[in-house]
Subunit: 125 residues, 2 copies
Protein backbone atom coordinates (compact mmCIF):
# COMPACT_ATOMS: atom_id res chain seq x y z
CA UNK A 1 0.00 0.00 0.00
CA UNK A 2 1.38 3.33 -1.02
CA UNK A 3 0.84 6.56 0.79
CA UNK A 4 1.21 9.72 -1.26
CA UNK A 5 2.40 12.68 0.72
CA UNK A 6 1.24 15.93 -0.75
CA UNK A 7 4.43 17.92 -0.39
CA UNK A 8 2.68 21.31 -0.47
CA UNK A 9 4.79 22.11 -3.50
CA UNK A 10 5.23 25.74 -4.34
CA UNK A 11 3.45 26.44 -7.60
CA UNK A 12 5.02 28.84 -10.03
CA UNK A 13 3.61 31.13 -12.68
CA UNK A 14 4.26 31.09 -16.37
CA UNK A 15 7.02 33.69 -16.33
CA UNK A 16 9.12 31.67 -13.96
CA UNK A 17 8.66 28.56 -16.07
CA UNK A 18 9.70 30.46 -19.17
CA UNK A 19 12.79 32.02 -17.59
CA UNK A 20 13.72 28.74 -15.96
CA UNK A 21 13.58 26.82 -19.20
CA UNK A 22 14.98 29.58 -21.36
CA UNK A 23 11.97 30.02 -23.62
CA UNK A 24 9.36 32.73 -24.11
CA UNK A 25 6.09 32.98 -22.25
CA UNK A 26 4.37 32.70 -25.59
CA UNK A 27 6.08 29.37 -26.17
CA UNK A 28 4.82 27.95 -22.89
CA UNK A 29 1.26 28.96 -23.74
CA UNK A 30 1.72 27.36 -27.12
CA UNK A 31 2.78 24.08 -25.51
CA UNK A 32 -0.40 24.09 -23.49
CA UNK A 33 -2.43 24.75 -26.60
CA UNK A 34 -0.77 21.73 -28.19
CA UNK A 35 -1.64 19.56 -25.23
CA UNK A 36 1.90 19.18 -23.99
CA UNK A 37 1.57 20.97 -20.69
CA UNK A 38 -1.44 21.08 -18.41
CA UNK A 39 -1.62 23.93 -15.94
CA UNK A 40 -3.82 24.53 -12.97
CA UNK A 41 -5.47 27.88 -12.77
CA UNK A 42 -5.57 30.34 -9.93
CA UNK A 43 -8.98 31.76 -8.99
CA UNK A 44 -8.24 34.73 -11.21
CA UNK A 45 -7.33 32.54 -14.14
CA UNK A 46 -3.55 32.63 -14.08
CA UNK A 47 -1.68 29.47 -14.99
CA UNK A 48 0.04 27.67 -12.14
CA UNK A 49 2.72 25.07 -12.75
CA UNK A 50 4.58 22.58 -10.67
CA UNK A 51 8.29 23.06 -10.65
CA UNK A 52 8.96 20.01 -12.76
CA UNK A 53 7.36 21.92 -15.61
CA UNK A 54 10.76 23.52 -16.16
CA UNK A 55 12.71 20.35 -16.96
CA UNK A 56 9.69 19.20 -18.94
CA UNK A 57 9.82 22.27 -21.14
CA UNK A 58 13.55 21.72 -21.58
CA UNK A 59 12.73 18.22 -22.70
CA UNK A 60 10.27 19.60 -25.24
CA UNK A 61 12.96 21.87 -26.60
CA UNK A 62 15.32 18.96 -26.97
CA UNK A 63 12.72 16.96 -28.84
CA UNK A 64 11.84 19.91 -31.07
CA UNK A 65 15.50 20.30 -31.89
CA UNK A 66 15.53 16.63 -32.78
CA UNK A 67 12.78 17.26 -35.30
CA UNK A 68 9.78 15.83 -33.46
CA UNK A 69 6.54 17.71 -33.87
CA UNK A 70 4.46 18.78 -30.90
CA UNK A 71 1.90 16.23 -31.99
CA UNK A 72 4.40 13.39 -31.76
CA UNK A 73 5.65 14.56 -28.42
CA UNK A 74 2.10 14.65 -27.13
CA UNK A 75 1.55 11.12 -28.35
CA UNK A 76 4.68 9.92 -26.60
CA UNK A 77 4.22 11.81 -23.35
CA UNK A 78 2.38 8.95 -21.64
CA UNK A 79 5.44 6.68 -22.05
CA UNK A 80 7.57 9.35 -20.55
CA UNK A 81 5.28 9.92 -17.59
CA UNK A 82 4.20 6.43 -16.71
CA UNK A 83 6.83 4.20 -18.24
CA UNK A 84 4.00 2.26 -19.77
CA UNK A 85 3.76 1.82 -23.52
CA UNK A 86 1.55 0.00 -25.92
CA UNK A 87 2.75 -1.51 -29.16
CA UNK A 88 1.97 1.57 -31.22
CA UNK A 89 3.94 3.84 -28.94
CA UNK A 90 6.92 1.53 -28.98
CA UNK A 91 6.80 1.58 -32.75
CA UNK A 92 6.75 5.37 -32.76
CA UNK A 93 9.66 5.52 -30.36
CA UNK A 94 11.76 3.28 -32.61
CA UNK A 95 10.74 5.22 -35.68
CA UNK A 96 11.76 8.53 -34.15
CA UNK A 97 14.99 6.98 -32.99
CA UNK A 98 15.77 5.89 -36.53
CA UNK A 99 14.84 9.28 -37.92
CA UNK A 100 17.19 11.02 -35.54
CA UNK A 101 19.99 8.59 -36.23
CA UNK A 102 19.54 9.08 -39.96
CA UNK A 103 19.59 12.84 -39.47
CA UNK A 104 22.81 12.60 -37.50
CA UNK A 105 24.36 10.61 -40.30
CA UNK A 106 23.24 13.18 -42.87
CA UNK A 107 24.65 15.99 -40.79
CA UNK A 108 27.93 14.16 -40.36
CA UNK A 109 28.18 13.71 -44.10
CA UNK A 110 27.49 17.38 -44.66
CA UNK A 111 30.06 18.27 -42.02
CA UNK A 112 32.70 16.11 -43.69
CA UNK A 113 31.85 17.75 -46.99
CA UNK A 114 32.23 21.21 -45.50
CA UNK A 115 35.49 20.24 -43.86
CA UNK A 116 36.84 19.24 -47.23
CA UNK A 117 35.97 22.64 -48.59
CA UNK A 118 37.58 24.31 -45.61
CA UNK A 119 40.74 22.26 -46.00
CA UNK A 120 40.98 23.15 -49.68
CA UNK A 121 40.37 26.84 -49.17
CA UNK A 122 42.94 26.89 -46.37
CA UNK A 123 45.75 25.40 -48.40
CA UNK A 124 44.61 27.51 -51.33
CA UNK A 125 44.88 31.11 -50.11
Amino acid sequence: MTVTVAAAERLIRIGEVARGAGVSVRAVRYYEQQGLLIAERSPSGQRLYRQDAIPLVRFFQEMFAAGLTSRRIAELLPCWDSGHTDAEQRTMLRAERERIQAKIDDLQAALDHLDEVIAITDTHP
Copy 2:
Protein backbone atom coordinates in the same frame (compact mmCIF):
# COMPACT_ATOMS: atom_id res chain seq x y z
CA MET B 1 48.60 29.99 -71.47
CA THR B 2 45.51 27.88 -71.12
CA VAL B 3 43.36 26.65 -73.93
CA THR B 4 39.78 25.84 -73.05
CA VAL B 5 38.31 23.10 -75.15
CA ALA B 6 34.57 23.46 -75.46
CA ALA B 7 33.56 19.86 -75.05
CA ALA B 8 30.23 20.29 -76.84
CA GLU B 9 28.52 19.06 -73.70
CA ARG B 10 25.01 17.81 -74.01
CA LEU B 11 22.69 20.21 -72.25
CA ILE B 12 19.73 18.84 -70.34
CA ARG B 13 16.35 20.24 -69.47
CA ILE B 14 14.87 20.82 -66.09
CA GLY B 15 12.99 17.56 -65.83
CA GLU B 16 16.15 15.54 -66.27
CA VAL B 17 17.93 17.59 -63.62
CA ALA B 18 15.05 17.06 -61.21
CA ARG B 19 14.82 13.32 -61.77
CA GLY B 20 18.58 12.97 -61.63
CA ALA B 21 18.85 14.74 -58.32
CA GLY B 22 15.68 13.32 -56.85
CA VAL B 23 13.86 16.62 -56.36
CA SER B 24 10.86 18.27 -57.96
CA VAL B 25 10.94 20.52 -60.97
CA ARG B 26 9.49 23.22 -58.78
CA ALA B 27 12.45 22.91 -56.44
CA VAL B 28 14.94 23.42 -59.26
CA ARG B 29 13.13 26.57 -60.38
CA TYR B 30 13.17 27.74 -56.79
CA TYR B 31 16.93 27.28 -56.60
CA GLU B 32 17.33 29.47 -59.65
CA GLN B 33 15.10 32.09 -58.10
CA GLN B 34 17.35 32.05 -55.03
CA GLY B 35 20.42 32.55 -57.17
CA LEU B 36 21.82 29.08 -56.60
CA LEU B 37 21.61 27.78 -60.11
CA ILE B 38 22.05 29.69 -63.35
CA ALA B 39 20.56 28.19 -66.47
CA GLU B 40 20.98 29.01 -70.10
CA ARG B 41 17.83 29.39 -72.10
CA SER B 42 16.83 27.80 -75.37
CA PRO B 43 15.48 30.13 -78.05
CA SER B 44 11.98 29.25 -76.89
CA GLY B 45 12.79 30.07 -73.29
CA GLN B 46 13.32 26.63 -71.81
CA ARG B 47 16.01 26.23 -69.18
CA LEU B 48 19.11 24.33 -70.23
CA TYR B 49 21.56 22.92 -67.72
CA ARG B 50 24.96 21.36 -67.85
CA GLN B 51 25.11 17.86 -66.48
CA ASP B 52 27.00 18.89 -63.37
CA ALA B 53 23.84 20.65 -62.29
CA ILE B 54 22.70 17.30 -60.96
CA PRO B 55 25.45 16.80 -58.36
CA LEU B 56 25.17 20.49 -57.58
CA VAL B 57 21.50 20.14 -56.71
CA ARG B 58 22.36 17.11 -54.59
CA PHE B 59 24.86 19.28 -52.78
CA PHE B 60 22.16 21.88 -52.16
CA GLN B 61 19.96 19.22 -50.65
CA GLU B 62 22.74 18.13 -48.35
CA MET B 63 23.31 21.69 -47.19
CA PHE B 64 19.59 22.28 -46.70
CA ALA B 65 19.44 19.17 -44.59
CA ALA B 66 22.31 20.57 -42.58
CA GLY B 67 20.27 23.66 -41.86
CA LEU B 68 21.89 26.18 -44.19
CA THR B 69 19.56 28.62 -45.85
CA SER B 70 19.58 29.17 -49.59
CA ARG B 71 21.00 32.60 -48.90
CA ARG B 72 24.00 31.17 -47.05
CA ILE B 73 24.59 28.59 -49.74
CA ALA B 74 24.53 31.31 -52.36
CA GLU B 75 27.09 33.30 -50.38
CA LEU B 76 29.37 30.29 -50.11
CA LEU B 77 29.04 29.06 -53.67
CA PRO B 78 32.06 31.00 -54.93
CA CYS B 79 34.33 29.09 -52.52
CA TRP B 80 32.94 25.88 -53.79
CA ASP B 81 33.40 26.79 -57.45
CA SER B 82 36.73 28.53 -57.44
CA GLY B 83 38.43 27.36 -54.28
CA HIS B 84 39.09 30.99 -53.55
CA THR B 85 37.81 32.58 -50.34
CA ASP B 86 38.04 35.92 -48.67
CA ALA B 87 38.16 36.37 -44.93
CA GLU B 88 34.41 36.81 -44.59
CA GLN B 89 33.67 33.60 -46.41
CA ARG B 90 36.15 31.66 -44.31
CA THR B 91 34.43 33.01 -41.22
CA MET B 92 31.05 31.89 -42.52
CA LEU B 93 32.40 28.45 -43.35
CA ARG B 94 33.71 28.01 -39.81
CA ALA B 95 30.50 29.33 -38.32
CA GLU B 96 28.38 26.90 -40.30
CA ARG B 97 30.73 24.11 -39.35
CA GLU B 98 30.28 24.92 -35.69
CA ARG B 99 26.53 25.17 -36.07
CA ILE B 100 26.36 21.75 -37.65
CA GLN B 101 28.62 20.23 -35.04
CA ALA B 102 26.49 21.72 -32.27
CA LYS B 103 23.39 20.37 -33.93
CA ILE B 104 24.90 16.92 -34.12
CA ASP B 105 25.69 17.09 -30.42
CA ASP B 106 22.14 18.16 -29.64
CA LEU B 107 20.74 15.35 -31.72
CA GLN B 108 23.02 12.86 -30.06
CA ALA B 109 21.84 14.02 -26.64
CA ALA B 110 18.23 13.71 -27.72
CA LEU B 111 18.96 10.26 -29.10
CA ASP B 112 20.53 9.14 -25.84
CA HIS B 113 17.55 10.51 -24.00
CA LEU B 114 15.16 8.60 -26.23
CA ASP B 115 17.20 5.44 -25.87
CA GLU B 116 16.84 5.68 -22.12
CA VAL B 117 13.09 5.90 -22.50
CA ILE B 118 13.13 2.94 -24.86
CA ALA B 119 15.22 0.88 -22.47
CA ILE B 120 12.90 1.66 -19.58
CA THR B 121 9.73 0.90 -21.49
CA ASP B 122 11.25 -2.34 -22.76
CA THR B 123 12.09 -3.69 -19.32
CA HIS B 124 8.79 -2.31 -18.08
CA PRO B 125 6.13 -4.07 -20.13
